[in-house]
C-alpha cells in the first residue's frame, strides 16, 4: 500500500511520479528483459529462421537457385510419398515405443515401490540404461539383432517367432521393431524413476483407509494410485512423446532409415534431407510439419490433463 502511493519523497530527491504507462506497461518488462532476451536469442530466433527456411529454396547442391519460393516446399511435401510413409512410421515408432516404455516403466515403478532385499541395488540398475550413450546402446542392439554375432534372432527362432534366424533389421515389415526394442530398453528408466517418485509421494494412510473401506488391491490401484499418478503420467507421456518423435539417433545408427525407408521417421527424414541431400529448405518444411503435429498433440494432452487432475 505504502509503496504504491509514493507520498513520501526524501530530501534531495526530486523524482516526479511515474506515469501509469511507464509503471505498468514498461517497467515490468524491463526487469524481465534478461530472461526474455535469452529466450529470444536461443529459442525464438532459430525457430523463426528455421520456419523462414521452409519458404525458401536453400539447397547446397543448387547454390544459384536460392530465394523465396512461397509454399513450393509444402506443395512438394504434400506429393511426397516418402513423407507420408515417414509420417506413418513416426506414429508406429512413437506409439510403439511410448506404450511399451510406459507400461514397463509403470510396472517397474510399482515393483520398486515394494519392500525387498537389495532394493537400492535394483533401483541403481534400473537407472543404468538411461546413462548409456544412445549411440552405444543403438550399436549394441544392432549387434544383438545380427544373427552372426547376436543371440536374439536365434532365440526368436527357438520361440517360433521367426521362421529362421535372420536379421529383422533387414526385413521391411519387421525392421521398425528393432529400434523400438532398443528405445524401450533405453526409455523405461525414465518412466520407472519419475513414476516411482510420484508413487512415493502418495500418503500411505490413503491405502490403509481404502483397505478399511474394503478395497481390493486392484481397486486401490485404480481408485487411488492411478488418480494420484495421473498428473505425472500426463506430463511424462507428453514429454516422452515429443522426445521420441524427435529421436532419430537410434534409427539412424541401427537402420539408417532403411530398408526401403521402412524405418524412416520424420526426424530421421529431416536429418537425411538436410545433411545427405543438403536440401535445407525442404528439410525445414518437414520440420515445420512435425512441429505443428506435436503442438496439436501437446495442446490436446494439456487439455486432457486439466480435465483429469483434481488434486
Amino acid at each position: 500500500m505504502i509503496a504504491n502511493t509514493h507520498t513520501s519523497v526524501t530530501s534531495g530527491e526530486t523524482r516526479a511520479r511515474r506515469s501509469f504507462y511507464w509503471r505498468y506497461m514498461v517497467e515490468p518488462y524491463f526487469y524481465l528483459s534478461p530472461a526474455l532476451i535469452l529466450i529470444g536469442v536461443v529459442m525464438l530466433v532459430p525457430l523463426i529462421v528455421g520456419i523462414s527456411y521452409s519458404f525458401q529454396s536453400i539447397a547446397l547442391l543448387k547454390p544459384f537457385d536460392t530465394g523465396w519460393v512461397g509454399l513450393e516446399n509444402y506443395a512438394a511435401l504434400w506429393d511426397d510419398r516418402k513423407f507420408w510413409l515417414a509420417l506413418e512410421n513416426t506414429f508406429r515408432w512413437t506409439i510403439g515405443s511410448l506404450s511399451l516404455q510406459f507400461l514397463l516403466g509403470l510396472g517397474l515403478a510399482l515393483l520398486l515401490n515394494t519392500q525387498f532385499r537389495g532394493k537400492r541395488l535394483f533401483q541403481a540398475l534400473v537407472f543404468l540404461p538411461w546413462a548409456v550413450p544412445t549411440f552405444l546402446s543403438a550399436l549394441t542392439w544392432a549387434w544383438l539383432f545380427n544373427p552372426v554375432i547376436g543371440p536374439l534372432p536365434h532365440w526368436l527362432h527357438d520361440l517360433g517367432l521367426l521362421s529362421e534366424p535372420y536379421n529383422i533389421l533387414g526385413d521391411p515389415d519387421l525392421a521398425i521393431w528393432g529400434p523400438i526394442t532398443a528405445n524401450v530398453w533405453f526409455g523405461v528408466p525414465f518412466f520407472a524413476i519419475t513414476l516411482l517418485a510420484a508413487l512415493q509421494s502418495i500418503p500411505s494412510e490413503l491405502y490403509e483407509a481404502a483397505e478399511m473401506d474394503g478395497a481390493s488391491a486392484w481397486q486401490c490401484f485404480t481408485k487411488i494410485t492411478l488418480p494420484f499418478l495421473a498428473p505425472m503420467i500426463a506430463i511424462t507421456v507428453m514429454l516422452r512423446t515429443i522426445w521420441i518423435a524427435n529421436f532419430a539417433d537410434m534409427i539412424y545408427v541401427m537402420t539408417g532409415g532403411g530398408p526401403a525407408n521402412s524405418t524412416q521417421i520424420l526426424s530421421s527424414y529431416i536429418f537425411t534431407t538436410a545433411f545427405r541431400k543438403l536440401d535445407f529448405g525442404y528439410a525445414s518444411a518437414i520440420a515445420v510439419a512435425l512441429l505443428g503435429l506435436l503442438l496439436i498433440y501437446a495442446v490436446i494432452l494439456l487439455f486432457v490433463r486439466q480435465k483429469l487432475v483434481k488434486v
Binding site: P203, E205, L206, E208, A209, A210, E211, M212, D213, G214, A215, S216, Q219, K223, I224, P227, F228, K310, V311
Partner: protein
C-alpha cells in the same frame, strides 16, 4: 455390535518386542479409550485390532471369531485416522460413499445413505466440495461420516482430535460422545489427551512401555491408581509425589512431618506419597501440618494454582477452588486430605489408599 477379546497379544518388530501379554475384554457397545504417552504402543494396539498391523502372537477375537489372519476389509470395522486420510481427488460425497462404491452398491441407494449421514454431521451443504476446500473440523466430520456410512460392527479412532484447535476439540469430543450414544456401537479410541480419555470413556486402558498399566472407569483411575505412572498420568494438574519413609502407623516426610495413616496396610514398603494438588488444603500460617512459601500464583478464575516450596521437601503444587488472595512470597500452612493420600512402594506400585467413599 461387537464384543472383542484380546488374549496374550504380542507385537514384535524384528527382534524387538514392543508389546507383550496384552489382555483385554471389550464389551459390546463399550467405549474404550487407550491412553498413554507417545511410544507406549496404543496406536500399534489399535492398528492390530484394525488389521493394518500383523499380530505377532496371542489372539484377537471379535464375537468369538479369531481375527488374527483376517484382512481389514473382512473384519467389518471402520477407522478414523489422525490425518483423516480423506481421498483428496474425490469430493465429500464420494469420500463418504467410497465403501459403498467399492461394494458396488446401487448409486441411488448410495446417494441416499450419504445424504442421511451428512445430515447427522451437518455436512449436507458441502457434499460437492473437495477435502482441500474444507476446514479441519469439516474434514474431521467427513472422516467420521465415512466411518458411519458403513454401519460397521465397531469404530476405531486414532487420535482423531489432535489436529484441531482447542475449542473445536471440545465440540468434536461432544459430537463423538453423542455419536456413541446414538449408534451404541463398540468404540476403541486412542489418545494421549487424558481429558478426552476421562470425558469419553466407559473404561480407560492406560498403556506404558507396551504394557497395560491399569484398566478401569475414569473415576477408578483417578481415585485408585494402581501405580505411580497411572497416578501421575491421569488427573490434571499432575499428582505431587513426595519421598517418605515408613513410620509407626504412618509415614514420615523428609522434613520430619509425620502423616498418620493407621488403617493402611503394609506401610513397611512405603517409599513415596502421592497427593493431588486439589487434595491439599491451604490454612493460615502455622496452623497446618507444615508450612510453605508460595512462589508462583496462577489465577485461572475458577481455580487458583499455587506453586509452593516446603523446606526439606521441595516444590509442591496446590490447587484451591475459587479465587484466593495469595501473593507470591506469602507464608501459608498446608494440610493433606488424608483420605485422598496415595502411598507407593519403591517400584511404584500403589500400596493402597485411605479412601472413605461415602462412608
Amino acid at each position: 455390535m461387537a464384543r472383542m477379546e484380546i488374549k496374550n497379544l504380542m507385537k514384535r518388530y524384528g527382534q524387538t518386542e514392543v508389546m507383550r501379554d496384552i489382555n483385554l475384554d471389550i464389551k459390546d457397545g463399550e467405549f474404550i479409550v487407550l491412553v498413554g504417552p507417545s511410544g507406549c504402543g496404543k496406536s500399534t494396539l489399535l492398528r492390530m485390532i484394525a488389521g493394518l498391523e500383523p499380530i505377532s502372537g496371542g489372539e484377537f477375537l471379535i464375537d468369538g471369531l479369531r481375527m488374527n489372519d483376517m484382512r481389514p476389509r473382512d473384519r467389518d470395522i471402520a477407522m478414523v485416522f489422525q490425518s483423516y486420510a480423506l481421498y483428496p481427488h474425490m469430493d465429500v460425497e464420494r469420500n463418504m460413499g467410497f465403501s459403498m462404491e467399492i461394494r458396488g452398491d446401487d448409486k441411488i441407494k448410495r446417494k441416499q445413505r450419504v445424504l442421511e449421514a451428512a445430515k447427522v454431521l451437518g455436512l449436507e451443504n458441502l457434499l460437492s466440495r473437495y477435502p482441500k476446500e474444507l476446514s479441519g473440523g469439516q474434514r474431521q466430520r467427513v472422516a467420521m461420516g465415512r466411518a458411519i456410512i458403513r454401519d460397521p460392527r465397531a469404530f476405531l479412532f486414532d487420535e482423531p482430535l489432535s489436529n484441531l484447535d482447542a475449542s473445536l476439540r471440545v465440540e468434536m469430543r461432544l459430537e463423538i460422545a453423542r455419536l456413541h450414544k446414538r449408534l451404541g456401537a463398540t468404540m476403541v479410541y486412542v489418545t494421549h489427551d487424558q481429558v478426552e480419555a476421562l470425558t469419553l470413556a466407559d473404561r480407560i486402558v492406560v498403556l506404558e512401555g507396551g504394557n497395560i498399566q491399569q484398566v478401569g472407569s475414569p473415576l477408578e483411575l483417578y481415585e485408585r491408581p494402581a501405580n505411580r505412572f497411572v497416578a501421575q498420568f491421569i488427573g490434571s494438574p499432575t499428582m505431587n509425589i513426595i519421598p517418605v519413609s515408613p513410620a509407626k502407623n504412618g509415614v514420615t516426610l523428609a522434613n520430619g512431618t509425620k502423616i498418620s495413616l493407621s488403617d493402611m496396610l503394609d506401610l513397611n514398603a512405603a517409599a513415596e506419597l502421592g497427593i493431588r494438588p486439589e487434595h491439599i488444603d491451604v490454612l493460615p500460617y502455622g496452623t497446618g501440618d507444615f508450612d510453605a512459601e508460595s512462589e508462583v500464583v496462577e489465577h485461572l478464575g475458577s481455580d487458583t494454582n499455587l506453586f509452593v516450596r516446603v523446606d526439606g521437601i521441595g516444590p509442591l503444587m496446590v490447587r484451591v477452588h475459587g479465587n484466593v488472595p495469595n501473593q507470591p512470597g506469602d507464608k501459608i500452612g498446608l494440610r493433606f486430605q488424608l483420605h485422598n493420600t496415595h502411598i507407593f512402594s519403591a517400584d511404584g506400585q500403589s500400596l493402597g489408599q485411605r479412601i472413605t467413599l461415602a462412608a
